[in-house]
Point group: C2
Chain length 341, copies 2
């Protein structure tokens, strides 16, 4: 009954709940994988004389950067829409894997819901190589010190507020569903960002396009800093994206900037709890609300879910790791299932 | 018949081949996974005022570095010895995953052989965060330019020789089994190394120890630059390691330095083809031969396999990606199975 209410509230339900295809509910059963593995998308050659030291080889030559690492699992049997998971700032694809307190990550939950799942490391982070040459050039006196990149790591203190775990480190919001007893595993996931700017045009956009060409009907799930990329990819011509699911996007498209007429992805934007107390997220939620309203007015299937408004409380910005992460995944999957995705 | 000959030649067979437990031979069957996911081992807090820029947050605070990312898959059903795969220089755990030409990686092959498999990204590489603070300190004028790390990326040209694909880039060795048509996927896997020195004491050693405490009977498979770490971990007290499998280790322990009396792991060292033509690898093979001989003389179960001497030709340094990578994995697994591992 409760589930039906939630599904109905987030709108667009085309079938009675009983007609939504059955999904496994037990996480205990063995997972049957038809195919799995990893690959890279993109990349560009960089020729440099500042590649560091592997004696006795010269420090000049060619390397490849901007490529994007993608790991995938295809469930055995009949599959639904493929899903791409794109992590946010200061993290890698590991953010979607096992939660800090050891529960199955969304990467596995969506496979169990019969979606082929693709997880990327954004360009220049994690297993996607960054370009180190400018650092060596500065060290060798061949470039000025101010040419060094600003390498950004989110401190525990900053991440605490950005991830909306509480008003300030280490005070938690009342009722917070983040597994704070396992926080050390969150800090361990975080990586420096060497890219010149987090919000600049990113190889991520091209990678989304490339994957959507290959995996028809791709559902692109972004988080936070990656929020704008699926929209940019769609605007740039990625017509095969069936849905964009933006988990607390750092930015939504400006009103009037999306959609164009050539692509009409379904859109779901999800925000968690404690938004009103967050100077960072309140204006972003408001901008996304305007965007969703404008997209709806333009005839798109666009839905904004504020979790507390559908009776789901306590969610942080890291809702894929919150203690009710499976519930949030199910809400998303209900939205997909109602659209036969 | 051929298989029996190979097994016999690499020695130590305790049972007739028919008694070796059956392993799946088809890669087409769905893979049944009991549990999978990822976690981090270790890590240390770093307090810094040089954490880059996430406006409006201060650039001071605490981050965590030295932790090691580990992804794992536990096959469904009865399992054999757990295996840890540790990549080599300039790579990440992705090196063990899907081969450049799209075949199953050793990570999956060993799961199909019923081993729980753990794959790490060495400290400061891939999903294991490096410490960026010194770069920001130099940029901000708070540290001298020569404090910058030497960030090492192997060029295509250097990697070609180190990986023994041929005498020099892009000339391949005759009969080479590396999938050179898919080389771009190899270059895409390579990442910069920010660590002060590849061969210095590494958090990898502690991570091996920690995992061996948790996963009794751990088999540690190293490659190249990581070759010495399992031996160092064993010397430092990791008594639960059942076997060390060193794939073309950059160094073997010096004669007399291993073992100590408290730990007696079984040892398999594997070298590929074209060693005599390699100024880099010939002395390393010779040093490993001396080490294996000394370990045998000390009563250890230690085996050196030079693949051409058991009739397997054309293997590069990247034998986990060569076109006969499944054959090499089977040779290793035969050695394990003969020891009931």
């Amino acid at each position: 009954m409760k589930k039906i209410a939630v599904v109905a509230m987030i709108g667009g339900l085309l079938q009675p709940v009983s007609a939504i295809e059955a999904r496994p509910t037990s996480l205990e059963k063995p997972l049957k994988i038809a195919r799995q593995g990893s690959f890279f998308i993109g990349g560009r050659d960089v020729s440099s004389a500042a590649l560091g030291e592997i004696k006795p080889y010269p420090s000049s030559g060619q390397i490849v950067v901007d490529q994007i690492y993608v790991r995938f699992q295809i469930p055995d049997g009949k599959t639904r829409s493929p899903i791409l998971l794109i992590h946010g700032c200061c993290l890698t694809g590991a953010a979607w894997e096992t939660t800090p307190d050891g529960r199955s990550g969304w990467d596995e939950l969506f496979v169990r819901m019969r979606h082929p799942v693709y997880v990327m490391d954004q360009a220049w982070r994690g297993r996607s190589a960054f370009d180190p040459t400018i650092i060596n050039e500065v060290r060798e006196g061949r470039a000025p010190v101010n040419a060094l990149p600003v390498v950004t790591s989110a401190s525990k203190e900053a991440a605490w507020e950005i991830f909306r775990l509480g008003p300030r480190y280490p005070i938690a919001h009342p009722g917070l569903k983040y597994p704070v007893a396992a926080l050390s595993a969150l800090w361990a996931q975080m990586v420096p960002n060497v890219a010149p700017s987090l919000d600049a045009r990113s190889p991520t956009v091209e990678a989304i396009s490339a994957l959507s060409q290959r995996e028809k009907g791709l559902v692109v799930v972004s988080h936070s800093q990656s929020g704008i990329y699926p929209f940019l990819a769609t605007k740039a011509g990625a017509k095969e994206i069936s849905a964009i699911i933006a988990i607390e996007p750092a930015s939504c498209p400006a009103v009037g900037q999306f959609p164009d007429r050539s692509a009409q992805p379904r859109i779901l934007v999800v925000f968690g709890d404690y938004i009103a107390q967050s100077e960072r997220w309140l204006p972003r939620l408001e901008a996304c609300r305007k965007f969703v309203d404008s997209a709806k007015a333009a005839g798109l299937d666009a839905v904004l879910v504020e979790l507390p408004k559908v009776g789901v409380f306590g969610n942080s910005h890291m809702m894929m790791q919150d203690t009710n992460s499976a519930q949030v995944a199910t809400i998303i999957d209900d939205w997909l299932a109602a659209r036969h995705l």
